[in-house]
Amino acid sequence: MNFNLHDLIVLAPEDFLLGATCAILFIDLFLKQSQRAVTHWLSIAALLGTLGLVLADHDPARLAFNGAYIHDTVAAVLKVFILGIVAMVFVFVRRYLAERKLFVGEFYTLTLFSTLGMLLLVSAGNLVMVYLGLELFALSSYALVAIHRDSGVASEAAMKYFVLGALASGLLLYGLSMIYGATGTLDLAQIRQVGGVGVNGLAQHPTLLAFGLVFVVVGVAFKFGAAPFHMWLPDVYEGSPTAVTIFIGSAPKLAAFGMAYRLLDSGLGSLAPHWSQMLAALAALSLIIGNLVAIAQTNIKRMLAYSTISHMGFLLLGLLNATPSGYAAAMFYAICYAFMTTAAFGVILLLSRAGFEAEMIDDFKGLNQRNPWYAFVMLLAMFSLAGVPPLWGFFAKLLVLKAAIDAGFLWLAMIAIGMAIVGCFYYLRVVKAMYFDAPADKSALVLPQDLPLRWLLSINGFALIALGVLWGPLIGWCYRAFGL
């Protein structure tokens, strides 16, 4: 029960990130607006330093703070990608922020705090830590959505996100309290061990536990943005500045996967047959609603929001398998999805400039004639999202479909394939606009002088092909994380 210093060493990445974030918060106070780049590079350095600490730790799985913090390979893999993607997002958004007078220190500190919340969430070992990690992440992202204070759409999006997020947190907390009531413990490993039996001689409450499970699944589905808990997603994606959308759309999906894994497998693994069915229903709804509604969108950010809903349906296909190979497939999918989103939003960020958001599909007309290379990057992102071989997205889809069929959900796999074909329509529409429509403005695209953005975006696009071919090591890492 006692505190010892060794626990802090296990938490080294989080300690470092928290310290660095507080330091950046203070340093930023004394910087002039012209020196804001210091904050920018310090934030990236903080993320990379944390990444280094995560990678440097080769110790076997262990617990810290009386089981509140789990250090294992699942957490390590998720943390590596969360940190890497957030660092990438920082590079992508700098110019966008600067052109809209949003290049402020708060963007960086809030994003870093949000990242810290995600790291704690994927390492959570008890119910309290799950909730606190989630709140730290969510509270920062509500504020980030509202960062553009004078924009009505952004305020509306922030308000919706905040109210629905608070509601979902309330539901999750209600479920957690029932699980605590049924088992008498907060510790996830103990909850799994005792199931509905109860420690400390409490009466048996299997129904109460199952009841708590329903609320937990609702909370998790909200964080994923799976239908029918997806209402916030399109408005938030469309309303928030693209710089915030790219953040919300990428790394948090990995954190949501971590949270689902911790709660559903580490905690409620004994109820897997029950939640598997619930996730199957959520997956089917997400796939159908996401893909069908996306067809009608003309705003590319909103279209990508609906595409997110359908992709979360795919991710749930892996999760509902409830075996290590299923989890590995879902994790692989989450990582792949995060990189596809950053590529797609990266191109939107690149094309936008002061007073022009490049958020309508029409804005992409004839991009190939104006700038073939970035049209090609967008083409890769769209093909990968649609699941065209040999790109990365295809193999991710293949693995989750295999997981769903292995779990005996053949009907669901059929729906998923049918909907993936429907989904091709709206991804290809963007490609058609870029390659076959005449541009409104025939002049060559004036690219911003932001070389880090251009290089990293090109690498991101290239990664979608490279990992489509060389996906072995990554999936191997995912399998190892789950002990396969």
């Binding site: 505190f3 705090f113 309290v128 509270l139 409450h205 129904t207």
Partner: protein
Amino acid sequence: MNLILFYVFAAVLVLAALGVIAVKNSVHAALLLVLCFFTTSALWLLMQAEFLAIALVLVYVGAVMVLFLFVVMMLDIKVEPLREGFIRFLPVGVLVAAVMLAEMLMLIGVRSMQIAPPADPAGHSNTAWLGEALFTRFLLPFEIAAVILTVAVIAAVMLTLRKRVGIKSQNPSKQVAVKASERVRIVKMPSAVRDVAAKSEATP
């Protein structure tokens, strides 16, 4: 006895909570919310959690709700437009709520809702136990909660602080460093007799 009291307080709590969302006057709603918090603290007292009960009254009733009431009274919210959709969606809402409630009651059963007063481990007072748990077993969550509060402060400042032109703001360091000689300037003027009669003639 405890159980009877529990049900009485629980009934008051539920009714007050319903009142918060059902009454038309927003000041009444805020006052009913005070009643909610108060009853909750009574429930905690029943479970021998004195510290939590008093903290709830002090923090929520004493500080948060008073502030809330101030805001509600100052904003002077028009009541009618807020509840335009209320009657229209009422049947659906009531139906969903009733079905959910019935399901919950059927699933859990009223019996399992009975509360068992927690056993006091080593004769500690509730406050001592809470303090010990917070700083040993729950140290990490406690620290994370502090980080969350920091985020809330940053977000609140970011969303509300505006630097406008022409705003009259104080500069504390200037205020502290000020000297008496800078504050009052004594002007020596030669004394003169005002010509009252001439002035009143000039301005009719």
